[in-house]
Symmetry: C2
Subunit: 476 residues, 2 copies
Amino acid sequence: MNLYMNLAELLGARIEQGLYRPGERLPSVRALSLEHGVSLSTVQQAYRQLEEAGLVSPRPKSGYFVAEHLSMPALPAISRPAQRPVDISQWEQVLELVRANPRPDVIQLGRGMPDIESPTLKPLLRSLAQLSRRLDMPGLYYDNIHGNLGLREQIARLALDSGCTLAAGDLVVTTGCHEALSTSIRAVCEPGDIVAVDSPSFHGAMQTLKGFGMKALEIPTDPVTGISLEALELALEQWPIKLIQITPNCNNPLGYIMPEARKKALLTLAQRYDVAIIEDDVYGDLAYTYPRPRTLKSFDEDGRVLLCSSFSKTLAPGLRVGWVAPGRYLERVLHMKYISTGSTACQPQLAIADFIAQGHYQPHLRRVRAQYQRARDQMSDWVTRYFPPGTRASRPQGGFMLWVELPERFDTLRLNRALLEQGVQIAVGSIFSASGKYRHCLRMNFAARATPQIEAAVRKVGETACRLLAQDDNGG
Amino acid sequence: MNLYMNLAELLGARIEQGLYRPGERLPSVRALSLEHGVSLSTVQQAYRQLEEAGLVSPRPKSGYFVAEHLSMPALPAISRPAQRPVDISQWEQVLELVRANPRPDVIQLGRGMPDIESPTLKPLLRSLAQLSRRLDMPGLYYDNIHGNLGLREQIARLALDSGCTLAAGDLVVTTGCHEALSTSIRAVCEPGDIVAVDSPSFHGAMQTLKGFGMKALEIPTDPVTGISLEALELALEQWPIKLIQITPNCNNPLGYIMPEARKKALLTLAQRYDVAIIEDDVYGDLAYTYPRPRTLKSFDEDGRVLLCSSFSKTLAPGLRVGWVAPGRYLERVLHMKYISTGSTACQPQLAIADFIAQGHYQPHLRRVRAQYQRARDQMSDWVTRYFPPGTRASRPQGGFMLWVELPERFDTLRLNRALLEQGVQIAVGSIFSASGKYRHCLRMNFAARATPQIEAAVRKVGETACRLLAQDDNGG
């Protein structure tokens, strides 16, 4: 990375962490130049980048100041799910979400779709096109069951950023993170086993548990620090838990990054009770802070963590390229991968390997991370403005998902039906719970650039919620 | 299809079925012109195509004659597997096969790889390249969980050729036939259930049964007419069978096409004992006869057949595009598909839909079918020439796989180890049995054009087998 980008990320992280407050004056160009041993123009470039990202604003003759924050809703409280293993429900609601055909007249705020219109993705399309023109047609062959070696080498290299030392042989390429999760779950568990999950939790992973006949034990989760280790320990004491399934970095749907000390403590717990951990890191590379947060896997000493990820959120979901580093479960995961899909489509693997090898991945990440961070602030502001008083919302530290909590009695299934007529859809909260909790919550995607259309859509969500609440109050 | 191609296929089928014998004189150009109501030049074109396919040879002033057959080994006897449900083994041998990295110094006769160098595949590569250049980037989006609608419409249209009336909504696109099989198995069965399979049987399907904890009951199978209905009925009487898993068209590994009357009788049995059928039709479009054989699904009246297929054998395996028509199990299959991979890579789906819609699929099939049929005869001839006396071999009616049976005491695992040093690999027979039977059998791929290199490789297999047998005879 360039010097100025390094510096911009560092300053951005300090602002994000509250080291400099909104409206506060930032160090002068000269001071930073001395502090970091870089040229004046490097500092100026860094400040210009932060200015573009909306984090700082220059004032003539006074220097740079932290941008005034947009307004922000209060955080949700820690979750309080039922503390016993349950059979997972909600498949019908999930099916409704994933079955939806893209309709040009509907703004879909519900799905986990990144912004794929960034110009930094162009080299990927070029690679795809070039592969199709090659006479040896590398995209048409059966792949080795591990996945393309070149791609696995690139993934292993990237993993260093999250503190992980992996070799290509430790990795299995999968058809999206979905297959990484499902092969991992099947590698560790038998039907009937109990799996502890953060709550709210990614609906796809929970539906996989359901499909394989496992029970979920939802653990209270804090919207800033993640799964409650105290509650988890109690649960481990009380139930024969086989596996912990968790998204510690840029959690879906809450957006938190679990602090490092808590990650280590979680691993100690897993060791003490001898349970495996499936770590979903699919949003990890989209953390707004630099360097990106470490994975649980990076602290794992005895191969009990199965690290699952993909390029679906960082590049594009239609590529369906994910991976898993299954630790001691490698052989089992290979078997499950073989029986699930045999191997993964070749051409997307080759194109991504090419894209990373040519140095396009990090610049792309930098751009979308900055965009998502700005969009988060904008979306939070709209929620404050348009949603019913008392609405709470998450404060994501990465990714592009906002979790919104409406008054307890509210029903987002009803809201979504009312919204469909108006051409907007959200993800209802109940699919993020094994037992259908969080009916009063919803998840919105803020990956798309903040256009007046998007603002109008969010406004419709908020105003329709207000209207439905008013109807209820009038006994309507 | 053109008139002359139609005629060529018809004549080819008659020759194949033995209506005209080797060396026999074929009807004159004039007679065929009258019989089929086509021009003389159309008949001449048809004969030229048959000549190119090696099926007929012209004799000056005497007309066309059926080509003298190459020599052919005797057929294997009907299989006699253990007639009780067994836990499936052989994963280590399968893993060895699928883990192998392509090595330029090894001729891989073991894998299910079609010939992807046919010029008739070029338009598919063009479609892939064009998709990558489109500004709206359709290949990058999340797909609907059913799969791309345009592709499903094309698949439904093609299904008419096998006697099936399907709508796009009856189909689910999968990541290869592998995912079609595994979602189908999981949709019908629970762990511990008994599944009846033809024997020898596709190792991938059996490893999937193993992975999900089911037991396989191997049914005796005839190398010409397929699974023994008599033995199957006895088994249905005796065991609580939940599912029949079968490949009736261009069977893998035996290559037979089950006669229509037996297909209907099989379905009647399934109805009487109320069991589901998973029909693997992945080689069905590669039948050498025209029109292609009907599927079991085409006789299915109450939705108990789950038809699984893919483009891996007809186009290219690296695309990883398959599908399933799950009948009454549609909702369960959708759930299993969602938890397995979420959705299938978009770009290959779009390119294939394009390829079929533009009329490239049938011409491609015609070309490779004729090539595979010639290659089958050539490969059978080599087996007669180079393999130990008493070797038996299948007589495939479609596809590109030959099943070879060596003397009972022979061990093909040992053969394969000896072959690796010589740069050749075959698929060992034991992976086609749940219980490790068929150690004396092997499967060879004849998709590649018959070059001196391929002949040398087949010769090495035969001669190494002779050498090992002689060693055994000498007590070595």
